[in-house]
Amino acid sequence: MSAALAVTDLVAGYDPGVPIVNGASLTVAAGEIVAVLGPNGAGKSTLIKAIAGVTPVQSGSVFLGEEDITRLPAHRMVRHGLAFVPQTENIFTGLSVEDNLLLAAGILKPTERAGRIAEIYRFFPDLARQRRLAAGRLSGGQRQMAAIARALIVAPRVLMLDEPSAGLSPKLVEGVFARLAEIRAHGVAIVLVEQNARAALAIADRGLILVEGRERHEGRASELWGDPRVAELYLGGVRA
């Protein structure tokens, strides 16, 4: 079975002479969560931004199933089934919750939009109750849910999230990650970039430790969590 997402030897960054991602590789299967961890400045966010077409790719390849999507513009990535939730400013605060979803549903056929939004509301009932509210008035946890809902509207094959736990209380992080586990159960491949290694590895199937723009350690989440070298060197002792 081919991977839902296969990234090979990716080199990316804003300045061609100074790559931030320096030969990283990554594969994610359908229905699998892969956590991308590492110290600050390791290139975790740049890696998924490059995959999503936001940061320029200098070399390497990105395949979505059998399709080569390397260097496609960001707005066309979504049409191929790759959705990305940035860390900050990940919803349109001036638009209502419903308009955020309708905007993202724009790439679907007009006849499919209402049905898909109804499905999303069933999955996120809180958002259904707040559909008319300006998204900027949602609480932190609700905003994160709205951002994930916006990304899910197009029924992506791969969902990539940049630090979805940032700025949320532990209880809200638990709620967001529980939702991610449910999304995985629907067969979506998930790439999760996180500083919160404990929470990420708790739901991830596999983990990847990125250092200086390329993977240094890779393995099953439970193995990585138990590896003292990984915890000491790259996770900053977060097991405590």
């Binding site: 999503a52 077409g53 936001v54 513009p73 960001a74 707005h75 979504v78 049409r79 990305f84 940035p86 400013e89 990940n90 919803i91 349109f92 605060t93 001036g94 638009l95 308009d99 309708l102 905007l103 993202a104 724009g106 790439i107 916006r150 197009v154």
Partner: protein, 302 residues
Amino acid sequence: MNLQFLADGILTGAMIGLGAIGVTLTYSILRFANFAHGEFIAWGAYLALGVASASGWLVAGAAIPIGPLSFGWGLVLALLIAMPLTGLLALALDWALFARLRDKASSITVVMASFGASMALRNLLEFLFTSRPAYFSRELQIAIRLGWGVRVTADQLALVALTAILVISLNLVLSRTQIGRSMRAVSENRALARVAGVDVDHVVRVTWLIGGALACASGVMIGLVVQIRPFMGFDMLLPLFAAAILGGIGSIPGALMGGLVVGIAEALSAATVGAEWRAAAAFVLLIGILLIRPAGLFGARE
């Protein structure tokens, strides 16, 4: 004191407001102050004049006034044709100039380029049509009494109605359609819009088309109630920017409301302290409102 200034101010405000909507749209989507916008007003008026004249030559009766109005269906047809043509002119200017600077040059470079484009477009109009004023119609109109000392012509009422139709239509497009949501999204966060699947280049093209079309409508209104001159758009530039800033740059209702405030302030000062003070009065009001609300009437704080 009679309320004639209010009627005059609303009409002037409608003309300024339609132009200011284009300025505010361009600013919010493309992030630069387009000083060539006034030329779209002038070019829109001349394009409409060209089409109206052609329809008058080609079809007998096209110039015969409709009911109490001073113009015939030829001008209505001309407006419908000139609006998309002016939109295409704006699009062509973007293709020839602004798109080549976008994302590469600083915003002040793009603003200065718009100054250059403004001069080039204005001088081209003067070269083609000379600076002698032209008119859509030379029919005399009898003003209608509305009470409280207010008298308006049928043309003025029709133009205020046209403004209302255009603004309501634009509002519906922005709030109910996919392209409208995309425009609001790009205005708020261009990078996120791309990630959400919005084709930003398409949104930019539609913005130029809408801005140009509304500028044309504004130009036809000025041409109908005042006159058509190559400098007509340039003369409107300061009121346009005053209205856009007063309403809160980026806000469509704000641009219209800003236009009405500027128009009414100008008309009130002309009726009270003298016509030579009208521009000064509008700007004193602008400064006063911005001191109280720095983001403008409808603007969001950064």
